[in-house]
Symmetry: C2
Subunit: 232 residues, 2 copies
């Protein structure tokens, strides 16, 4: 909880405690949180450092004790948010690959639909040109990581005959692309134009159904085919 500056008081007495506290351990976090709020609302260019300082309950100078400049602060905000959203890879080999795939994709979907993702995505895209390092970080830590996870499951499905022949990396890219794009659409103001009357779960369901249809084994060659899971 940031220390509030005392408001100018009617009577002249100073308020009880100190005017501010030394909290070197907590400042970075406070500033990052405040900065994210400001960037989310205004974007990098229009967010004001004075505003960020006010939201964080510190003075502008304090920001510069912890971050060298606005751009670095922005980068730190993004990295911080991404890092805290990367959860450990949970493995769960049991059951049909389609079920594992659905569960895995579901976790990606939850991430894509989490409140912060929309802003992180928008802010990052907007600054890709200015901050190429961020782009690389994003691609590595989010996209590639997710796609590798998907590909592993698809690979299992193929070798166990549940899925038809396909390139697992291709398939992973497809599923991931569908998830991200639909996630973004869900967040847009024009959502109702693009996804009329569909709620999050339904959208996810459609994506999964489409992908599992694409991964179905070819009809003739595999008689015990179409193992496709029951949909929840």
């Amino acid at each position: 909880m940031p220390v509030q500056h005392p408001r100018p008081r009617q009577n002249k007495r100073r308020p009880r405690g100190p005017r501010w506290r030394r909290l070197p351990e907590e400042r970075p976090r406070q500033i990052l949180d405040a900065a994210f709020d400001a960037f989310r609302e205004k974007g990098l260019a229009h967010a004001r450092l004075d505003d960020i300082a006010r939201r964080a309950g510190v003075s502008k100078g304090t920001i510069y004790l912890y971050f060298p400049n606005k751009e670095e602060l922005f980068g730190a905000v993004i990295r911080h948010l991404v890092a805290e959203n990367i959860d450990a890879e949970r493995e769960s080999h049991a059951g049909p690959a389609s079920a594992e795939l659905r569960a895995y994709a579901g976790r990606i979907w939850a991430f894509l639909r989490s409140p912060n993702f929309e802003a992180v995505y928008r802010l990052t895209i907007a600054e890709l040109h200015t901050l190429p390092a961020l782009s690389r970080f994003f691609a590595q830590e989010i996209a590639l990581r997710s796609m590798r996870g998907i590909a592993r499951i698809v690979q299992r499905g193929i070798s166990e005959g549940e899925f038809g022949a396909a390139d697992p990396d291709d398939a992973a890219r497809m599923l991931y692309a569908l998830l991200v794009k639909h996630g973004v659409w869900c967040n847009q103001e024009v959502r109702n134009l693009l996804l009329p009357g569909l709620d999050d779960d339904t959208v996810f369901d459609h994506v999964m159904t489409f992908c599992l249809d694409a991964l179905r084994p070819a009809a003739a060659s595999t008689p015990l085919a179409r193992h496709r899971s029951a949909r929840r």
Copy 2:
């Protein structure tokens, strides 16, 4: 070709012709082109009107004769670019639906891969928050238009039995999502990370194959079984 301002000359003689021409018909176009270049390179916030004026071969004041302010100029740039890329809907009902679908998607792909699209997309996303009207325009004129075209073809494929039962609007969304996301990836600096060693045509081919696989009719054993769709 914009009229160049005469450089300061060593000898005092005035250059031959007039210092500038009145070209009220051509100014808007010149300014839009110059502005797009500037915005593409620097983004809305960092592009300088003095720079745009210089590139257009006019003075800053002239810009304000044709556009009320920077933001409106930005909007006009985007609308101008989108408008000139919307080509007339060409119909071509001949042949199998899969071929027509491939051709139609190919035109969308060509648009997505055209040199200007990357910049338009990035700039628009970045300003969605600030300029919601632009977002709506974009969704209507690009996304929805394309999806309707796809859905029409998918519908034909379904009724002719070439595709299995599916919701044409869903399928259109899927194909369109895959095209856009892959188009964006192709444009990114990290392309080689995400699409290692794949050229544009190959990427397109993978997308089409995946979608056509998903649209395959169900195996003969269960003729009408898979009739999901019709949710809403």
